[in-house]
């Protein structure tokens, strides 16, 4: 990766092992969202969307989110996205538990999706 303007908020041990610039969250998907929210409220911006694109990924025990490496002015659009994501997550998981039985596979796919997100970020050279 040429760009170095990101950080990864993750609770995925695979990601922790394989990447630099990691803010590791010792907790669940929701804790990753909350950590992201705290940082967005302190002026960091979201690079990747906090949620996945399919319902199954809501059940993932692991999540990795990309944010900027520097705090800037608070961006309301980003605040709204992370807040709505938390509402959405809680609603989806209302009665469900994360799918721990398949946690290895989720860790792998989360890692793959992160890789795609980073490549996409790389293609947008701002």
């Amino acid at each position: 990766m040429k760009r170095k303007d990101y950080q990864i908020i993750t609770n995925n041990p695979l990601v922790k092992e394989n990447y630099d610039r990691v803010i590791f969250v010792d907790g669940g998907f929701q804790d990753v969202l909350i950590k992201t929210r705290d940082l967005v409220h302190s002026g960091y911006k979201l690079i990747s969307h906090p949620l996945g694109a399919s319902i199954r990924m809501f059940f993932s025990p692991y999540r990795s989110i990309l944010i900027t490496d520097k705090a800037d002015k608070l961006d309301m659009e980003h605040v709204e996205i992370i807040e709505n994501s938390i509402v959405s997550y809680k609603k989806q998981m209302d009665h469900r538990k994360p799918d721990e039985a398949n946690s290895k596979d989720y860790a792998c796919i989360d890692g793959e999706l992160l890789k795609s997100a980073l490549e996409e970020h790389e293609r947008l050279s701002i």
Binding site: H49, A53, I55, N84, S116
Partner: protein
């Protein structure tokens, strides 16, 4: 472009010594099919099974569904850019084994759960309980990287559909559907007074198990692009999605995209249908802003008066859907959105987390958290372990009598956001 979809009505399927269609009965030479697929050295084992509507059969975990076809006239048999040489599709004659479907199963990851029940309560919720399904279960050799594994299963499904489709080459069709549409200039001249309508079809484009392909190009890499509707009906777009069972667009649903077909139906009568814009749903926010702006710009440049936007998936794509809507409505272009919703088990939650006041016309294709009960099957095709994943993931979702409770989101095509199925939501 002029495309003839020549439907041969399939009324039953069976195994036999050769792969042929006779009197509407599709016979499959199992061995030949297996050998054909095993030409790919990455495949270790192939099992083929049949599932007919009404049988107490459960298919799980489904990866993709493909319609078997053969092109008898015109360029590009199969799926150009993926399984066959590059060609411009959208014109010519295609013989379709209508009523048959190739269903690929195979767990690339343990949490795939997409289910098709061929009978009873479960059958009501999926459009693929009404097709005669040739189920192809693919086990690759050990040690494949996840990407290669996914690709292997994806290609095997497409090849199986091509192989079976060949059986229809010389059969007289039961009905012929003609899809013809000229250039924008020609059509506008023919129908100067009809409102111009575009279809924006969003595709999940986010990485492994979350991809779509257009002429073999991963949609992650494209700017929104314009297609003649015939191209999609003729195999230009395929699915690489595995984990959004209820609302992913299977390859079958691209080949038979219901929004395209229903807009075609109105072309020249009430509207002038301009075509399909395929829009990737990206992961990064900057990427999302770019594709949404670009989509709106295309619609405006093409002079659309109205646009139907269909989403794929659930979660971050909701943002794209509403952003596109907002941008179009601001330009005075009227939109109708198709999406599913999550209003919780009891249907009492706010259905969308993101909202925008511009989204005044929305078709809801069902609540993904709606709980349904599935009876025990006599026979399970695929991976019996996937049943545990299928059952809800909460206390008491597996009953003593073998029945299970799951949410609609596990059922293939149940809340199809191209409106392929009949589910909707009403306020009670």
């Amino acid at each position: 472009m002029k495309l003839e979809l020549r439907r041969i009505h399939i009324k039953d399927i069976q195994f036999g010594n050769e792969t042929v269609v006779k009197d509407g009965i599709l016979t499959i030479n199992q061995e030949e099919l297996v050998n054909k697929l095993k030409e790919d050295k990455r495949i270790k084992e192939v099992k083929v099974d049949l599932a007919r509507p009404g049988e107490k059969v459960r298919i799980i975990p489904v990866k993709d569904v493909i319609e078997p076809r053969v092109k008898i006239e015109g360029e590009g048999n199969g799926f150009p850019g993926v399984t066959t040489k590059m060609a411009q599709v959208g014109s010519g004659k295609v013989n379709v084994l209508y009523g048959a479907a190739v269903v690929t199963v195979g767990d690339i990851v343990g949490f795939q759960e997409g289910v098709i029940d061929m009978w009873g309560e479960g059958a009501k919720w999926t459009p693929f309980s009404k097709t005669y399904n040739i189920v192809v279960d693919i086990k690759p050799v050990e040690g494949l990287a996840p990407h290669t594994h996914e690709e292997t299963v994806r290609l095997a499904g497409l090849k199986a559909a091509e192989y079976i489709g060949e059986a229809g080459r010389n059969i007289e069709p039961d009905e012929v559907l003609v899809y013809e549409m000229g250039s924008h200039a020609e059509e506008s001249k023919k129908y100067p007074d009809l409102p111009r309508v575009l279809y924006v079809e969003m595709l999940i484009s986010q990485g492994l198990l979350h991809d779509g392909y257009i002429y073999g190009v991963n949609s992650q890499l494209i700017l929104p692009t314009l297609l003649h509707p015939n191209e999609e009906l003729d195999g230009a777009v395929i699915s690489g999605n595995c984990v959004a069972a209820c609302d992913k667009i299977t390859t079958y649903q691209h080949q038979n995209n219901s929004v395209i077909l229903d807009l075609y139906e109105q072309h020249g009568k009430t509207i002038n249908f301009l075509g399909v814009i395929l829009t990737p749903e990206l992961t990064t926010l900057e990427g999302k802003f770019r594709t949404c702006d670009y989509t709106a710009k295309l619609c405006k440049t093409l002079g659309a008066d109205g646009v139907i936007i269909s989403e794929e998936g659930y979660g971050n794509p909701d943002s794209d859907l509403l952003m596109i809507c907002k941008r179009l409505e601001k330009e005075g272009i009227k939109t109708v959105l198709i999406t599913d919703e999550c209003s919780g088990w009891d249907g009492m939650s706010q259905p969308l987390a993101d909202t925008t006041e511009e989204a005044v016309a929305v078709v809801s294709t069902g609540n993904v958290s709606h709980v349904i009960k599935l009876e025990p099957a006599d026979k399970v095709i695929g991976d019996i372990n996937a049943i545990t994943t299928l059952a809800g993931g909460w206390e008491g979702c597996l009953k003593e009598d073998g029945s299970l409770q799951c949410e609609l989101n596990a059922v293939i095509g149940s809340t199809s956001e191209i409106g392929y199925h009949n589910c909707t939501v009403k306020l009670y």
